[in-house]
Symmetry: C2
Subunit: 231 residues, 2 copies
DNA sequence: GCAAAAGTGTTTAATATACACCCATGA
DNA sequence: TCATGGGTGTATATTAAACACTTTTGC
């Protein structure tokens, strides 16, 4: 049952939109949903929705994430709040955006029912997107570019076990520059935040690579000593 | 004339709150207003207000700034958006917060009329503040601490002409550590972003100090060459 | 002439950069 | 055995850190 809510002053609506970034096939990818309603019907857009009653902003972001992907505990942080009055043709809608890093790709099936079609797009081949979502995505990419240098974000985009080469390639893709393999390994290993596993990859080709895992305990110890991650 | 606005779903209200930081007498200070209305009547709070119809978030922040201080063009950036449903006892109010740096202290007189009493408080001697404003201030201070290291924020807090000692003391206050005078001067001067003026301070005591000004053109050139400010 | 703050260089340690060959595996 | 990607060390350059005395001014 719906009741009506009446206010003396006009109120903008509040939506939360997630920029969900994943890394696969050597590219950063962004999850978009295909709109089937107006406005911008037929265009792709960031997964988002309106804030529910009694819900906090981060709860809303988590809910949207779960609805679209089924994921529950990825890395999330608030990105920015967009509030230009004309950013939505319907009315003034404030969008609080979140930045989500995903380290494995959920089975994004068109799981029946009313769920919108969702798809991952490489950041270099984004379709035209609805609203001001292109600007939002730009802010997200700027954020990850800057922050991956001084924060252990990279590990949020890789599977739990990864090789140093995979880690290096991820940095190279995001920073858009090549890095020296020996210097990269020296630096990362000297930080003492990686746990070397007794496992190697089994590849079709080339020498098997040792697998590592990010060691959060070591990382926290490092922070307490006021030593900071920095590439 | 007020008309009523009716929505099918409840809508949180949206306010904008400014954390305005200034530097004087060797301390970072924060501008607070004294509340005379409920809730939290009698407590101090961040200057803020509700978003007007057709107004963007940054316009709202600028308007509030002008109302409280008369200032028009200080450095401003969005800080964070706070949206816990219980952060305001009246109802769900989302607060989009802005971070404002002020390099000279406006005459903050109780300029008649209905204007609330405003005052600058040193960050180490803040009174009990209303709502979740203590948390907001903490985020602002974390932001300036982190950002002053890699962004030329410090110049936004000093007058146009300043001495290297003043600049150094400002860094020391914000970072809460002492810096070596010779190394500090070497580093700042080698960045080539300061313009040496043909003026010196006239003090009661000690050797007069050469005045410098931040040279934004040189700084922009530096950025284009992908060289970044870093203390 | 003295108190107070400004200004100035050098030595050493730490960190960053550049660079090329051998190794282990699967086909 | 060869193609492929993994793994390793050293020399040099750059940057950071530590440190103490002289200068200029007002009183």
């Amino acid at each position: 049952m719906k009741i009506d809510y009446t206010y003396k002053y006009p109120r903008p609506a509040i939506s939360v939109d997630n920029v969900m970034l994943g890394y696969a096939d050597g590219a950063l990818k962004i999850l978009l949903v295909h709109r089937t309603n107006e406005p911008y019907s037929g265009k792709w857009a960031l997964p988002g929705g309106f804030l529910h009653e009694g819900e906090s902003l981060s709860e809303c972001s988590v809910r949207i994430l779960k609805e679209k992907t089924g994921l529950e505990n990825p890395f999330m942080e608030q990105l920015y709040t967009f509030g230009a009055p004309d950013r939505d043709p319907r009315e003034h809608i404030i969008s609080v955006t979140y930045f989500v890093l995903i380290n494995h790709f959920p089975v994004v099936e068109n799981n029946a029912e009313k769920v919108d079609q969702v798809a991952w797009f490489p950041w270099s081949e984004l379709p035209d997107v609805a609203f001001d979502h292109a600007a939002i995505i730009r802010v997200a990419i700027d954020r990850i570019r800057a922050k991956i240098r001084y924060s252990p974000l990279a590990f949020e985009l890789l599977p739990e076990k990864f090789t140093l080469s995979q880690l290096q390639t991820l940095f190279e893709v995001i920073l858009h520059q090549t890095l020296d393999r020996r210097n990269f390994r020296k630096k990362l290993l000297s930080m003492n935040i990686l746990q070397e596993l007794n496992e190697t990859t089994t590849k079709k080709v080339g020498k098997p690579a040792v697998l590592y895992a990010f060691d959060k305990k070591k990382y926290d110890t490092m922070l307490q000593q006021q030593i900071y991650f920095e590439l």
